[in-house]
Symmetry: C2
Subunit: 343 residues, 2 copies
């Protein structure tokens, strides 16, 4: 690794001690201008770069932040990643991403074990998978590490938490539909392994009850881990004896497939059936070309940015030990897939 040049070579070349080279390179203690120049000259001509493993070992600091997500390729992450990148650009920390495919808990553990043992100073974890129990147990044990959990409120785990009001957002979606005159409102759930799916389902259930709206047979559709299955669920719902006039989809990617299904059946969205999604996802999978999807927005870019900024700030001032807990509000973004009915 590296080019083989160590601090020793620099010390020799410039005729000073290792300690002095270290001080010059790090700009810590006072060093006379003369020796500083001698050392810098040697650093330059030798092409010296400090070994990060050695630094980490002795200083217990890596100056790096790790971000762990599932399915980094998912266009869902577009805004979130931009947020991370923008945050990264503003910090001295090196920001590295790790991705696990699907809900492969084994690789998630592997990456977390890797990162938490001498590789990064802090970790940003996005998303809550119901299969995460062993991961959580492991993390709780690493108390020296700083965490930002996004969209994941692990009980009994005190760390920074940036949360989204998913239940409230789902409720606002139902209220919005009701105000548009809809009474027959169905729900297509998301990935069954994610906690967010349950939260949004609960929001649907709560608000339907509060609004006094009946949930007919077949009004709750469960997708697989694949957004695509939203297509089949929508198909089934559209063939229900008591066909819903509106469908709340757990996320925009599912909504995009649901709208394709309706369209393929000869139905017009929103004239024949209204659809509302969640996320306000900028980029949809699989070249969606339907109407712009009315949705419940969560501020993903902001959250990505905030998470990096928060973590690097906390790592810098060691005083700031108080963990942040913040819940981001959602808002309805009206586009083209919900129509008013009745009235």
């Amino acid at each position: 690794m590296g080019n083989g040049i160590t601090i020793k070579d620099v010390a020799k070349a410039s005729g000073v001690s290792l300690a002095t080279v270290s001080r010059v390179v790090n700009g810590t203690d006072m060093v006379s201008e003369a020796t500083k120049e001698k050392v810098m000259e040697a650093v330059r001509s030798l092409g010296y770069n400090p070994n990060n493993a050695a630094r980490a070992l002795v200083s217990h600091k890596t100056n790096a932040i790790g971000i762990v997500v599932h399915n980094l390729h998912d266009p869902f992450f577009y805004d979130l990643i931009r947020g991370f990148e923008t945050g990264a650009q503003q910090t001295k920390y090196n920001v590295i991403f790790c991705s696990v495919l699907g809900s492969d808990i084994k690789s998630k553990e592997k990456y977390l074990k890797y990162l938490t043992n001498g590789v990064v100073d802090g970790i940003i974890l996005y998303g809550s998978y119901l299969t995460d129990e062993s991961v959580t147990r492991y993390l709780k044990d690493r108390d020296a590490m700083k965490y930002v959990m996004i969209e994941n409120d692990i009980p009994d785990f005190s760390c920074n938490k940036l949360l989204i009001d998913n239940t409230g957002g789902a409720q606002s979606a139902i209220r919005y539909l009701k105000n548009k005159g809809h009474h027959s409102i169905a729900h297509i759930c998301g990935n069954p392994n994610k906690k967010v799916t349950i939260d949004r389902l609960n929001g649907y259930l709560n608000e339907m009850r509060l609004a006094g709206l009946e949930i007919h047979d077949g009004y709750i559709g469960h997708t697989s881990t694949d957004y695509k299955s939203g297509y089949e669920r929508m198909r089934e719902m559209m063939e229900l004896p008591c066909r819903p006039s509106a469908v709340f989809c757990s996320d925009d990617a599912i909504a995009s497939y649901a709208i394709r299904a309706a369209t393929d059946m000869g139905l017009c969205v929103p004239k024949d059936v209204s659809v509302i999604g969640f996320d306000n996802q900028t980029i949809l999978p699989d070249c969606y070309r339907g109407p712009r999807i009315t949705t419940v927005e969560q501020p993903l870019h902001q959250i990505g940015y905030d998470s990096v900024a928060l973590l690097s700030q906390q790592l810098e001032d060691q005083k700031t030990v108080t963990n942040v807990r913040k819940t981001y509000e959602t808002r309805i973004v009206e586009k083209e897939t919900v129509a008013a009915v009745g009235k």
Copy 2:
């Protein structure tokens, strides 16, 4: 970092030497079943995990691979990232991503300096930026590191190179259009900082010459670093006195904006003007909803997968020192944006 449990604690708890613990944990040398069990028990009950910085320092191996790209958020990367992820899943190496925003060479250098000094054993670098000179100079000096350069054939730099025949691909696009009866073919170039832009432009120029087709005034449009500027370039071309019947765009993202421009001007693609792109990009920016774009495909998923597989295999068997050089061929994928004319 970590949980504070070191190899010393394990040695003490199980009544053996550090060396023995190391041997058990790494499964290297022979150790008797009895002591092996004692040690493993201590490892488990203490929750010991080896410190990667210490390991890296002494063994000169990190068991990690770094991937560096520009604009990780760009949906262009969808297939490539899936390829990286799939490759990562199949290797014991920890795969980490670093992203630099725009063509921020300063951060690129920062990340490369970080990775190459005790953090990873090998690096995959995607893309060729014309501003990369200092980066290249730096990398050439790190000969102990293994590299896979994708889409970047740095002269005098011997490393693994996975290349795409961009010039050939561009030529095939022009030939394809000519075979469809087009004689007035314009070209919208891509990001001026990328070498790929020049290669594809050269392909266009070559093939136009070979085909004996004239490049009229205004037939070559230059975009900024933003795909969006493809919109303006297309607008201008459509107002040319000698309006082209077909436009070859340097990539699909630009093509998507070009098609929007034509459509907004009341032109129909491909009836009034044909458009061909490059990349066969699965997911387009900014919710494109036009026709499916006929394009020159490059096998991004395969390249992503191959790069990780190649690097981890080379790091494993140290004998395989011969660098691989492979050029992936492109192929035309006919979709909905090119029509035949004349005849």
